[in-house]
């Protein structure tokens, strides 16, 4: 910390006798990541999370969940006992005619020592199954994309709650002094539904908000000095700003001004550290090829590599969004070419990420999460091509590293894969589990807002102990 800040701090403690006291100033400085990481509730298994969010809701039936009964009864109407009293998105396509069971066209095989089922869509993933916990029974509450994503991220479909990455950085800070603690990377044809709400800090201070990096151009907006301004000249300007602010600080005794001084320090350090961070050209060719990353391109592959580099530098929570998995069965978004494309986008990079983390000894301390906002129905839709509807009762996700079991499958569903029959896991349970791996008790991680203590898991959630090593 610079002398200026040091003096500022002392000035407040000794000279100002501000009622706010040391804690307030400490937290203000912490806002810009200057404070040391905070102690978790208990000894953590993981130090960081990489959350690969498959926006749109991938179909478990084409990827992880072979159902012989579904194949056998393909084209038959689903028995009423399954659908009675259930509500679905896009009901109109279900109401034209009774929904029919849809067998998959994809071939499945068992892989690894664990014998995990994977379809032909994900040949690279098939190689890492022994590092993975597959959960086949993830249930959620909400079946529209935007609210369902917001629900997964914030524990509530209502807007205005903090996202999981914000809760984590609020809870344990970040050990990256030169980078934000919570970073968001995006790829695919468009941004995820719900946009900034998915990584907003809600009622937590905005410093805990996810900072979206861009994969092409500047990773952070306005990160580069303006063209023609050298680092020295810019330092001159920043020093001048600091002097001006320090004068104000003396005149006003306002701790916010100290924070603003600190924010310039952080911004200047980010300017130095972030360009190096995103320069994936520095990686050896073997690594680039393993991910399928190409320097300068905008891709999920580049983002996976960037995620590893962020975690290496102490960033706490990295969330990658890849669109679009919403395969209803129109001319583009279908389970034929549509699914092929998106699988090709993600399969190799996500497998490479897990392998790369493992090779570097980072997998034990990094929890990788893969999944979408909900699963899809065993029934097809009466549309132009092959597709499935949104389904909140069950879907599949996988986890790797960070203290979860390796080569393990949790949960069983009925013969059609419509509902969990064993080990149903709710979104709130997964939120509790992710926090748990970071050393945070979801019951204790609270924030008082408008007279009420809020939690990520609202009044629900239980750590899924069965999936933990």
């Amino acid at each position: 910390m610079s002398d200026l800040l040091h003096n500022t701090r002392r000035h407040f403690f000794r000279d100002c006798g501000l009622g706010l006291g040391s804690m307030a100033l400490g937290s203000l400085l912490a806002k810009d990541g200057l404070a040391a990481p905070k102690k978790p509730h208990f000894e953590p298994k993981a130090k960081a999370v990489i959350f690969l969010f498959m926006a749109g809701g991938p179909s478990q039936f084409e990827l992880f969940e072979p159902k012989p009964e579904l194949q056998k009864l393909h084209g038959q109407p689903i028995p009423d006992s399954f659908t009675k009293g259930k509500r679905f998105a896009f009901m109109d396509t279900f109401s034209k005619e009774k929904p029919k069971l849809l067998g998959t066209k994809r071939k499945f095989a068992q892989y690894g020592k664990s014998g995990t089922w994977v379809s032909e869509c994900l040949p690279h993933f098939a190689k890492i199954v022994d590092d993975v916990t597959m959960v086949k029974t993830v249930a959620t509450n909400v079946f529209n994309h935007g609210p369902a994503k917001v629900f997964f991220n914030t524990g509530s479909p209502q807007f205005g709650r903090p996202s999981i990455g914000s809760w984590v950085t609020y809870g344990i800070g970040s050990s990256a002094a030169d980078l934000p603690g919570f970073v968001v990377l995006q790829s695919g044809p468009r941004g995820p539904r719900g946009g900034v709400l998915n990584w907003a800090s809600g009622f937590l201070p905005t410093t805990f908000q996810g900072v979206p990096f861009r994969s092409g151009g500047d990773p952070i907006i306005n990160l580069s000095s303006p063209a023609g301004v050298t680092a020295d000249r810019q330092k001159d300007v920043i020093d001048a700003v600091k002097d001006l602010n320090a004068d104000r600080l003396d005149a006003t005794g306002d701790p916010e001004i100290a924070t603003r001084i600190a924010s310039y320090e952080m911004a200047y350090r980010m300017q130095t550290s972030a360009p190096e961070l995103i320069d994936i050209g520095k990686e050896d060719k073997k690594t680039l090829d393993a991910y399928g990353a190409v320097a300068g391109a905008a891709s999920f592959a580049n983002n996976c590599l960037l995620a590893r580099r962020l975690v290496e530098r102490g960033v706490r929570f990295v969330q990658l969004y890849h669109t679009d998995w919403d395969h209803h069965g129109d001319s583009v978004n279908n389970l034929d070419k549509g699914l092929d494309k998106v699988c090709k986008d993600v399969d190799q990079p996500m497998a490479a990420l897990v392998q790369d983390l493992k090779r570097r000894g980072l997998l034990d301390s990094t929890l990788v999460v893969w999944g979408g906002e909900f699963g899809r129905t065993p029934m097809g839709e009466a549309r132009d091509t092959v597709g499935r509807n949104h389904h909140i009762d069950t879907g599949a996700m996988w986890f790797a590293g960070g203290g979860v079991k390796a080569g393990f499958t949790l949960g069983e569903t009925d013969e059609f894969g419509f509902s969990p029959t064993q080990d149903r896991v709710h979104v709130h349970d997964l939120q509790a589990t992710i926090l748990n791996q970071l050393g945070l008790d979801h019951l204790k991680l609270t924030y008082r807002f408008q007279g009420r203590d809020f939690r990520l898991t609202d009044v629900h959630g239980e750590v899924v102990k069965k999936m933990l090593a």
Binding site: L18, M91, G146, P157, G160, T252, A267, G451, D458
Partner: protein
């Protein structure tokens, strides 16, 4: 699933029976966390695992106890098994088994039991309503539901300071605590403060000089009058209201389609503030302008109802009945927060947990909006309703509502009808019929339902359909608007007076401007709030007059200087012993930069949204440059939900999906990056530097003076002048041979100084 989740929690400090607030607070702060952390995992939180038959999640369970009897004997820690176990003295009974608690924790629990083991029950009413009554006495007596009083102006010791009644109220509470108000701010600080507050811009060097030189007794009053007459006044005030109205130029949520005509509502709000439209009229226009007698000739009437149409909606909602209800719900919620400061939406699934709003009252209101046409259709993707304005060629369309419920493919005859209470917010589980009345805690339990005489023609209930009751000739919106604008309604005048105060002082008298309910803050100066509300109505609901009353006080003219003793007594400055230093809002920073650089385009009105109406909003750098790369005032830049302009996002603009009465004012690194590196800030610095060099070709001192005046509203102090000059010369020197052209070198160095001046705190703060 319904978007409004269950709002109950075990953690709420609820109403209390037989215990003092201190006891409740002690329980919530110190005891409950210990129970939750160490006890309930095995005693109650998990149904599958209750050890020893003991549950510790309510007081009743604790007193009932487990297999070995009651866990606690209130008042007697020595006889309470819960306490005994903590001490680890009995080899067979150690609690919690995982490890002994710290002495401090044991002391907390022991004190709690000794004091009677107070346990406030979450959300439980403190008392039951008397037979035949809907609400308890405590609910009826809640401050916000009392009629607005016209309190006498209090006597104060320092009568000289009390320039007007506002001062008397402020001073009397300061004096009661032995505090004194801060010294008056100097004229330059004041002028900068009031110019930003009223016009949203910095004062020009000429305006500063005029005010500093004006020795007349009315100098200050003249400044206020001048500013409230500028067109920029309406633009600046409108922005606050647009936050409350969750204004945006696109739908947001899942289907982010453009509202190409939303700008007419925005321009209407600007016009209304500039005309000083009486606030009661402003309410009526927004809630029921289409039903006012001159709606066919006065375009404000229809345009105002854009307020109801602008909300974010799930435009591809497959369940059309739910879609219709959701849209009306969003309207009820916004109307409640904006005009009443009540979170009415909480009563959709259950009686409001904290405020006396039964679900029946919610559905009574909801029926007024389901009987209103808000959408063109309910197709996938649905479009909002628009109506031609009665001006010009009749081609001007505005987002506006209509009476009538028949549109889209929702069944029904289009007559406005009562809804039934929907149990747990689900239309498939109807409860009792909800007549169209206003919230009964405010409007009384004996109300005649609105919308004209009811006809007992309820359609036969159909399976899987929303259940409707009696019909009526009108939706009831007009009566609702009239009731909201009635001075006898205790909330609207208070809520608006509080908003006006908030934007002048940085904090409201009620610090939760959109929640005057139980979970909101209590007023710091209840009598002052009532006095202001009364004065507001007495002055014909004139916002300008209300502002002038406040601005003429000494309270507004205090300096923001720190005072150690006062800060210790009142760290949050709730009593207003000084003026609150405030960070400028996003729009004021941007407009301030443009204005200080002499670069601002003050053209009013119109739309910069380059997107077909109701088509998906496209977002790419070229379109963004057209939308935002302008020198127009910030209020005219399109507000695109899910993709708010990055400058505004960086500086905490209100999230435009929801009504926001008070914005955050954060200080984070991305703001510094913006000021350091954004081409926009650099451009303004370049423009200002060129102007300084042109205006004072030979006098470097004059350049620094002018820059300080434009950015900070004051001249530099001698050492600041010296520092600035030495910065420029060192910078030029450092550029050296890299910039051989001396004119260019000079421009670069002065631009660097200007940027440092813009980037410093003083530019972004109001003192």
């Amino acid at each position: 699933m319904f978007s409004r989740g269950i709002l109950i929690t075990l953690l709420v400090a609820g109403a209390v029976t037989g215990q003092t607030p201190q006891q409740s607070e002690f329980f919530e702060k110190s005891v409950r966390p210990l129970l939750a952390a160490h006890c309930t995992e095995c005693h109650g939180a998990n149904e599958k695992k209750v050890r020893g038959g003991l549950r510790l999640t309510t007081k009743a369970e604790m007193l009932k106890g487990g297999d070995t009897g009651p866990a606690v004997v209130p008042g007697k820690p020595g006889e309470s098994r819960l306490i005994k176990g903590l001490h680890y003295t009995d080899e067979h009974f150690k609690m919690p088994p995982k490890g002994k608690l710290t002495d401090a924790d044991i002391a907390v629990l022991t004190k709690w039991v000794a004091d009677g083991a107070a346990w406030p029950e979450a959300g439980a009413p403190a008392e039951r309503p008397k037979p035949g009554q809907l609400f308890t006495d405590e609910q009826r007596k809640f401050w916000a539901f009392q009629p607005v009083a016209d309190p006498p102006v209090p006597a104060v010791k320092n009568a000289e300071w009390a320039k007007n009644p506002v001062d008397a109220f402020i001073l009397s509470s300061l004096e009661a605590k032995g505090l004194a108000p801060a010294k008056p701010a100097d004229r330059r600080t004041l002028l900068r403060r009031v110019t930003y507050d009223l016009a949203g811009l910095p004062p020009t060097p000429e305006e500063i000089q005029d005010f500093v030189d004006d020795n007349s007794a009315h100098a200050w009053e003249h400044v206020i009058d001048r500013l409230t007459r500028t067109p920029q006044y309406g633009e600046s005030q409108a922005r606050h209201w647009l936050d409350v109205a969750r204004y945006a130029d696109s739908n947001g949520r899942d289907e982010n389609t453009a509202f190409a005509n939303a700008f007419r509502y925005r321009d209407y709000v600007v016009k209304s503030f500039n005309e000083d439209k009486p606030y009661d009229t402003f309410i009526k226009e927004q809630v029921a302008g289409d039903l006012l007698p001159d709606a066919g000739t006065n375009p404000d009437r229809l345009t105002g109802t854009g307020f109801l149409v602008l909300g974010p909606k799930l435009l591809a909602e497959p369940d059309k009945q739910k879609m219709k209800l959701d849209i009306a719900d969003e309207q009820v919620d916004t109307v409640g927060k904006a005009f009443l400061g009540l979170t009415l939406g909480c009563a959709r699934c259950h009686d409001h947990k904290f405020d006396p709003i039964p679900t029946r009252d919610y559905y009574g209101l909801l029926g007024m909006f389901t009987g209103t046409r808000t959408m063109k259709n309910l197709a996938t993707v649905a479009a909002a309703h628009e109506r031609p304005l009665p001006v010009g060629d009749g081609k001007g369309m505005a987002l506006a509502v209509d009476e009538g419920a028949k549109y889209g493919d929702v069944k029904g005859d289009g007559k406005p009808r009562n809804l039934f209470v929907q149990v747990r917010g689900n239309y498939l589980t109807p409860g009792e019929e909800a007549p169209a009345v206003f919230p009964r805690i405010l409007a009384g339990e004996a109300q005649v339902s609105v919308g004209g005489p009811s006809a007992p023609d309820a359609p036969k209930p159909e399976a899987n359909q929303t259940r409707y009751g009696q019909s009526r000739p009108h939706s009831g919106r007009l009566e609702l608007a009239t009731w909201l604008a009635d001075p006898k309604n205790p909330l609207p005048a208070r809520v608006m007076a509080n908003r006006v105060w908030l934007h002048l002082f940085g904090e409201g008298i009620v610090r939760t401007p959109d929640n005057f309910g139980k979970l909101g803050d209590r007023p710091t100066h209840p009598e002052l709030l009532d006095w202001l509300a009364t004065q507001f109505v007495r002055d014909g609901w004139s916002v300008k007059k209300l502002q002038k009353t406040i601005l003429m006080s000494n309270a507004y003219r205090m300096s923001s200087t720190h005072n150690e003793a006062a800060a210790l007594a009142d760290p949050d400055n709730k009593l207003l012993w000084r003026f609150n230093r405030r960070r400028l809002e996003a729009e004021k920073i941007r407009d301030g930069l443009l204005s200080a650089a002499g670069n601002i385009d003050l053209k009013m009105g119109g739309s910069l949204l380059n997107n077909g109406n109701f088509t998906y909003v496209s977002i790419n750098p070229t379109l963004d440059a057209k939308r935002y790369g302008t020198a127009r005032r910030s209020i005219y830049l399109p507000v695109i939900r899910n993709s708010v302009f990055d400058f505004f996002q960086t500086f905490d603009m209100a999230e435009p999906h929801v009504p926001t009465g008070k914005r955050a004012g954060t200080v984070v690194a991305p703001q510094a990056l913006y000021m350091m590196n954004s081409p926009f800030v650099k451009q303004q610095a370049d423009v200002l530097a060129a102007k300084l060099l042109k205006d004072s070709p030979t006098d470097a001192d004059a350049r620094v003076r002018d820059a300080y005046l434009r950015a900070y509203g004051r001249p530099p102090k001698p050492d600041e002048l010296r520092q600035a000059l030495s910065f420029v010369s060192q910078y030029e020197e450092a550029l050296g041979t890299k910039a051989p052209d001396p004119a260019k070198r000079s421009q670069t160095a002065w631009a660097a100084l200007c940027q440092a001046i813009f980037a410093a705190s003083e530019f972004m703060y109001l003192n």
